[in-house]
Every structure is written in C-alpha cells, then in structure tokens.
C-alpha cells in the first residue's frame, strides 16, 4: 500500500498560528517580562503600606550629600547619553520633477526615430524587442534635445535640461515647505553622467542666490544608487552641524548620453533611461520634527567594486567606432543579487524583529554545525517594513528582487508603476515610487519604508525611513493627475 503523502506543514493553518505566536512572544519578550515584574512590585508595595515604606527610607540614613551625589551621577549619565546619541535626521518634504506631456515619447515615435537614425536594422530590431518587454508605458519623457532626428546633444542643451528638471523640482519644494533659499546650509547634488564646470551645485547656488558659506557638494560618476549616497553624505554633515538643513538633489541628465552606435550591450540605456529629478529637504532641527514627513533610521552602503566582475558590470567606454556608451554586462542580475545579499546581511540585524533574527541565527548555526544541506532561512523583510521602494532600473531588477525578498505584487507595485509611468529615471526613481505610495494614501504614521538603490561600481545602497505623520491624499506631485489610472496591468510583451 503506498504511504500517504505527508501533509504540507508549511502551509498548514495550525503552523501559521504557531509561527504568529512565536513572533509575538519573541518580539515582545521584554514587555512580557517586565509587565509581570512591575505588577508584582506594585502589589508588594501596596501590600506593605506607606508606613513601612517610610520606615525603610529612614533606615537608609541618607543625608543631603548622598542625595546630591546620586542625583549628580544620574544627571551626568543621562546628559552623556543624550549628547552622544546621533542627531535625528528628518525628511521635511521632497518634490519630484513632473515632465511636460509634450516631451513624452510613445513607443511608435521611439521606434520611428531609431529606424531613421540607426543604420543597422539588427540594432533596430533589438531595440524593438527591448522596448516591448521593458515594462515602460507610453507617457515616459525624454528631454527636448532627444526628440530631434538625429538627437542634438550639445552642452547647451544638457545645461538646459539640467536647469529645467532641477529648478522645477526645487521650485516645487520651496512652494511645499516654505523653504527660504538663503537658509539652506548644505547642498548635495548627484548627477552621474553630466558634470560641467561650474558644477550643477554651483548652478543652483547661482540661480537661487544661496549663501556664500554654504557647504555644497557635487557627486558625479556614482551611478543610479547615488541618490542614497547623497542622503548619506547629508546625514553625516548634519551630525556635525547643529540646527541645520540640507537640500539634496538627485537627477540624471539624459541629453549628452544618447548612444549612436550599434553595440547591443550599450543600446539598453537609450531604451530605458528617461528624464527625472527629485529635490529633498533634510533637517536636524528639533522644530522641524513636528512638520517632517519621515525620519531617517539607517543608511547601509555596500560596494562590490573590489570584485573585477562587479567593477566592469556597468562600464562606460567607447565602442569600435568611437561612439561613447554605457555597456551593461550579461551578469548584471547575478551581481545585483550578490550585492543585495551583502546589503541584506548588514541591514538585517538593524531592522529585523528579534523573531526573524533568532530564526536566521539558529538556521545558520544548524547549517554550519549540524546539517549543511539545510535550506538557508531567508528572513521575512515584510515584517520589518510596510513599504518597499526598489530602484526601477528595469523589469528584470524588480522581478529579481521580488523573487529573492519574497515580496507580493502589492509591495513592488510602486516600483513597477513608476517604471511604467516615468521609465528609469535613475537615482530619482526611488522618490517617484515613494510619491506613488503616498498618492495612493497608503503611507500611515509609524510605517517604515525601505529604499533600495543599485548602481555602477557595483553598489547596493539601502535607506530606511520611518513615517512621522500620515500623508493625506490628494498629494500634490508628479502622480497627481494620473494616480487614479494606476495600478495598470502591464503585459509581458507589448506588441509594437
């Protein structure tokens, strides 16, 4: 008689409740321990009565010196503790650039231009295939210079694009927060592929007449994850400067980077990169705590550049015809997965609840000591965060992360919809995704957000934010006019 197959324990309802019980027990361990202790103490005090308490106090024989010294010690310890805590960094508000619909690039227009500009029909076919499977929509925008046949990437046009996207975002931010330009203490700008002299940060100082003692920084060449690097830099500076605020601008200027050649590994950015920018206001002032939207909890940076394969994975170079382009290697997804694993290993202990950490620890011990074939335990990050903002680098990136972090469709919805509506806007895409979540009315007080950025180097950076006040809809931003149409169903292949 064939043995009955064992019931699948992992899906049994009973096991689910066991797991829930275990999590509650471990995560609230201290509470569960302290409450009975406090209850016992109180009962004991009540039992003994006030006279006994006074007699115990008198028997201690304390005089003024003892009391003063003890209070001094307590106050000293508390002061040292509070002074040595890192300054909280608040995200007062942020604004994303909303491109004008006249800049949009429907698929048909893109393919027509490509056919007219590209001499090699195989490249045209390749780009058609990429666009069909890209997950982009018909409303993504390219800068005006890229609408010409052939594109006209002059430095003037690149500066014009930079001015358009950056100044629009900053103007929006000023309107939202009432920020006065002369009160900005720190300015950090990141734009990987366009680095003129004077820098983009100088351009902003010039336009908004910022103070002469402003601490300005311009990060270039750091790839699509540079947005979180700028936040990290601003945070570090805010630890050193008390009572300051920082303006962080994340953008990518597309105009100078149109690839004119035929190498397949370099054609992807043409198809996926789109115009976008974000302006973020950070502050460490106590009075901003009441009006800030988020507080920065952690920033974790992982750099895999020491490995040659990871270093060459996203590489800007000239092809055999002398055309400059960014080549993406075939192992990009594998390297990204690797970098993510390293990042998770560092961020896990900082954010995961104790229950998950214990399970991971025990599985790790088990694998090392008892049975090496035990499946590694992938911690459930859904318990640490309510919202996920995954860099909208491409459909493959989002799919890969959804699989490895075991996220549901709703968790990656913000990333997918941002890719559809705005394309790959590089470092600013995380902010468009955050705006999507807010516009949908899903951001509540106490929610934690995990922003994950990937970029050349190869780098994987994470930032963890905690929401300080529920964000009410409707939200003014790039999603304002189209949020009611989302989420949309994005087909696997759009037939062109």
């Amino acid at each position: 008689m064939p043995a009955q197959p064992l019931p699948d324990f992992s899906t049994s309802v009973r096991l689910k409740y066991v797991k829930l019980g275990y999590q509650y027990l471990v995560n609230h361990f201290l509470t569960l321990l302290l409450i009975p202790m406090i209850a016992t103490c109180v009962l004991e005090l009540v039992r003994r009565g006030p006279e006994e308490l006074i007699s115990v106090y008198n028997s201690l024989d304390l005089d003024v010196i003892h009391i003063l010294c003890s209070s001094f010690v307590i106050i000293f310890v508390l002061t040292v503790y509070y002074m040595s805590r890192p300054r909280p960094v608040y995200l007062v508000d942020y604004a994303c650039f909303k491109p004008a619909p006249s800049c949009r690039v429907p698929f048909a227009t893109f393919m027509e231009h490509t056919s007219m500009i590209c001499e090699d029909p195989k490249s045209v076919q390749f780009q058609t295939r990429i666009l069909e499977r890209s997950g982009l929509g018909e409303e993504t925008c390219l800068p005006p210079a890229n609408h010409y046949i052939p594109p006209n990437p002059t430095m003037e046009a690149a500066r014009a694009e930079a001015q358009l996207v950056i100044f629009s975002a900053i103007d929006d931010l000023i309107k939202k927060t009432g920020l006065q330009p002369k009160h900005i203490d720190i300015l950090v700008v990141n734009c990987s592929l366009f680095s003129p002299t004077p820098s983009l940060s100088a351009m902003i100082v010039n336009k908004y007449k910022l103070r002469s003692n402003i601490k300005s920084f311009n990060l270039s060449g750091m790839g699509c994850s540079a947005g979180l690097l700028s936040i990290d830099l601003a945070r570090d500076l805010l630890q050193v400067l008390p009572g300051s605020n920082a303006l962080v601008i994340s953008t990518e200027i597309i105009t100078p980077n149109f690839y004119k050649g035929n190498r397949r590994d370099m054609l992807l950015p043409n198809c996926l990169f789109r115009m976008g920018a974000a302006a973020i206001l950070l502050s460490n002032r106590r009075r901003d705590a009441t009006r800030a939207k988020y507080r920065l909890l952690h920033v974790v940076r992982t750099h895999k550049g020491a490995d040659d394969r990871a270093y060459r994975c996203v590489y800007q170079e000239e092809d055999s015809d002398g055309h400059c382009g960014i080549s993406l290697s075939k192992d990009l997804m594998a390297i990204a997965g690797d970098a993510l694993k390293s990042n998770i290993t560092t961020i896990g202990p900082l954010v995961l609840p104790m229950s998950e950490q214990l399970l991971f620890f025990f599985t790790l011990v088990g694998r090392k000591l008892i049975n090496p074939t035990l499946r590694p335990y992938i911690p459930d990050f859904k318990q640490a965060f309510e919202h996920f903002c995954i860099h909208a680098g491409g459909r493959a990136v989002i799919d890969e992360l959804q699989k490895s972090l075991q996220l549901s469709a709703e968790h990656v919805e913000a990333s997918r919809m941002t890719l559809h509506r705005f394309g790959n806007t590089s470092s600013s895409s995380l902010w468009y995704e955050l705006n999507y979540i807010e516009s949908k009315g899903r951001m509540k007080r106490g929610d934690r957000v995990w922003q994950i950025g990937f970029g050349s180097g190869f780098k994987c950076n994470s930032a963890v934010w905690k929401c300080l006040r529920t964000v009410k809809t409707p939200v003014d931003g790039p999603w304002a006019e189209c949020i009611h149409r989302y989420p949309v169903d994005i087909p696997e292949i759009v037939k062109l």
Binding site: P101, S102, A108, T109, S115, E138, H147
Partner: protein, 439 residues
Amino acid sequence: MTVSVETRRSRVTVYAKSTAPSLTPVKPGKTHEFTALDHSMSRHSVHLVCYYRQAPTVTMTALKESLCDVLSYYPAMTGRLVKNEGDGCGEWMVKCNDAGVRMVDARADTTLDEFLATATDEEERQLAYWEDVGSDPYLWSPYCIQFTDFKDGSMAVGISCTHFHADPTCVAVFSRAWSETHRRALVTCPPFFHPWAFYPRKNPVPSSPHLSEKSTIPPPLHPPAMSSVTFAFSASSVRQCLADLQLSNLSPFDALASLLWLRISSYKSASLGTAQLTLAVDCRRRMSAPLPLGFYGNALHFFGVKADLSSGWSHIASELNCHVSGIKEDDVWSSVEWLHERSKEKAFQMYGPELTCLAWDNVPVYNAEFSPGAIPVHVGCRIGNAQGEGLVVIMAGAPGEGEEARTVIVTLPTDLTAQIYRDEAILKYGPKIMFSPNI
C-alpha cells in the same frame, strides 16, 4: 556678350527635424478608415502656409506645445498608414499608433515684409517641408509642420500633408483649431471623424463620365517642370472685374476663374475654341445632410465644365456660374459611388493633367489667430503633384483687403508661368504679384 542668369540662393534654411506627440496617449487599437474620395486623392499633397507678425505668444516653443495639445483631438493625424488586413480588403487605413507628426525648424534670412515682397516661388515652397512616402509607409509621417523664423521675429507656419488624409479645407480647419487651442479658447470646429460619410447609397448609381475619362488618360512620359505665381487681388480689383463683365449674379470666383482660363488658354494655343476645365469644389455644405466643417477627410467634387472660349469672357463666366451653382447632389453621389467601385485600383491624377481649378474661396482661411486679434498676414495654398496643363487655386484674400479680395495661385509649366504673370489683361486689374518664379 552673354548674359548669365543667376538663380538667387534661397534664404530659407531648414536646420532641425523632430516629432510632436499628442499630449494624451491614444487608446491602443484605434484606427481610422479612408473613404473612396480619400483613396482617389492619394497621389497629391496639400501645403498650407500662414504668415504671422511677431507677437509674444507666437514663438516656436509655444506653438509646439499647443500643437501637441491640439493633436490630442486628432488621433488620425498622429497615426501611420497600414494595410487593412482585417476585412480582407487590403486597402490602406490609418493605425492610430500615437507616433506623432513630423516637425521641421527653419529660419529665413530676411524680414517678413521683405520676404512677402521679394520671395520667389521656390522660396515659398521651402516654407512647407515635405517628404514623399519612402520605402516603409509605417515609418512615414503623413503630416509635416514647418516653423520658419524670420529675422524680425515673425513666423511662418507651413502645414503639409498627403491629400489621402485631408483636403485643403480640412487642413485650414485644423490650423484654426490649433490657433484656438493656443489661445486656450474653445475649439469651434472640432474634428468629425466619419468615414461612412461617403459610403455608397442604398441604390448606388455609379457614374462619372468626367472621372472615367480622366482615369483613362495615361500619365505623361515627361511631365513638364512646373512653377507658380501668386496674384493677390484686392476687393476693388475684383469689383472692377465684375463691373467689366457687366453681368449680375456673378461671384468673384466666376470672374477670376474665367479670366485666368481665358488667358492661360490664349497662351497655349493661338486659336480658341471649345475647351474643358476641371473644377474641384468643396461639397461639405452642399449635401442635403451637410457635413460639418470639421469633417476630417476629403470632400472635393471634381467635374468638368465645357465652354466655347471664343465667345468672350462674359460667356465663360456665366457658364462657370451656371455649373458651380447647379451642382446636383445626385452627381456628387454618383461620382463617389463610381470612385468606390474602383477604389481597389491604383489612384489616378485628380488635379490635372488637364487644366484644373480649385474653387476654395468659400472656405475661411484667415481665422487661425494664434495671438488674439492677430490674423495671418498672408495665407498660401499649394497642391503637390499637379503636373500637366496647370492648376489654378482661388482662395479668400486677406480680410484687410476687403470681402471680395481673392488670392489666386497659378501653377503652370514654367514657360507659361513666365508669360502669365506679365499678361496685360490680368495686370490691368492691378493684382499684387507675389512668389513669382526665379527667372
């Protein structure tokens, strides 16, 4: 001693080409089908050029923005030609794939007034950039809009399109809708897409002797080089013409069309006898169920008028008047049905090769105000591929010149054009001569 005639270098330079998308994406799967009339016009193209004085809101950037806006109402304009495989008829139709219209940026090395006074026929042609369909119709934009900046900040907007999509009235109505969108005003003639407007009647009577005759004419082996000249008749000149005709009930069109017919024919052959003129008339409003002015597509009725040219100008004018006012709706339908029957065959030349006249003066063309109160200084209209004996386009003149003012654009074989714009009988009425050939 040899006298060398140097053709002057053109002052118009095209420096950039791009594509304008519509502001709102088109719903996928949308299509636009052509009527039999559209198919019949597929060999020609329409070119409309409007000239505007400098105004703060009339800049290339602002016009491009409002162009994208108005294109949201015209999904057929931003689509591409594909063969209709669905119904099995294999005819051309428009797949509204949201590809956009081609835009061309140009500059003219002169001021607007100097251009209008001294530009040649060649230079005016260069204000409406046009590329014929290449090897792949799917990548070809049926519309092309050129923006030309003049030295004094004035602008010329040139709209070119294939006659397959639209007739001159349709293009004029589009430019009006565009100007209204630019001013953020209400669009008075929104586009009306109705490919069944010219579907054959229940009991079709397909017959068009004129068109049947035209379809049998073989295309000329060596089409002559054509050139154009524009005559701008002021209201007083037209009134003088009408007075000279000494007949009542004649319209400015009758007077001018007959005058030109007579004069052109007199240069072609010394002796005048019975001749035939092909007339093209917009019949949107002539149907018993009239089509709105915004009807998108072709609604031109072609028919022949015979007259004895030796019997004098007045006789010819009254013949024209008779025929134009006496167009019967049945004739229009018969010719539509005849075209419908042969729609699968290759289209033949409609404007020409015999002498043709387009009666377009009943359509307002000076109402495309991009800046409030600033109507175009001048509007010109040309038809592409009208080779042969010639084409006369009679359109409304600038409102500033009076209600009876007319602009007449005459396209003839080059040697005839040279003679016609020096013709005493025409010059007697003092028309302003513009855009003469570079001779």
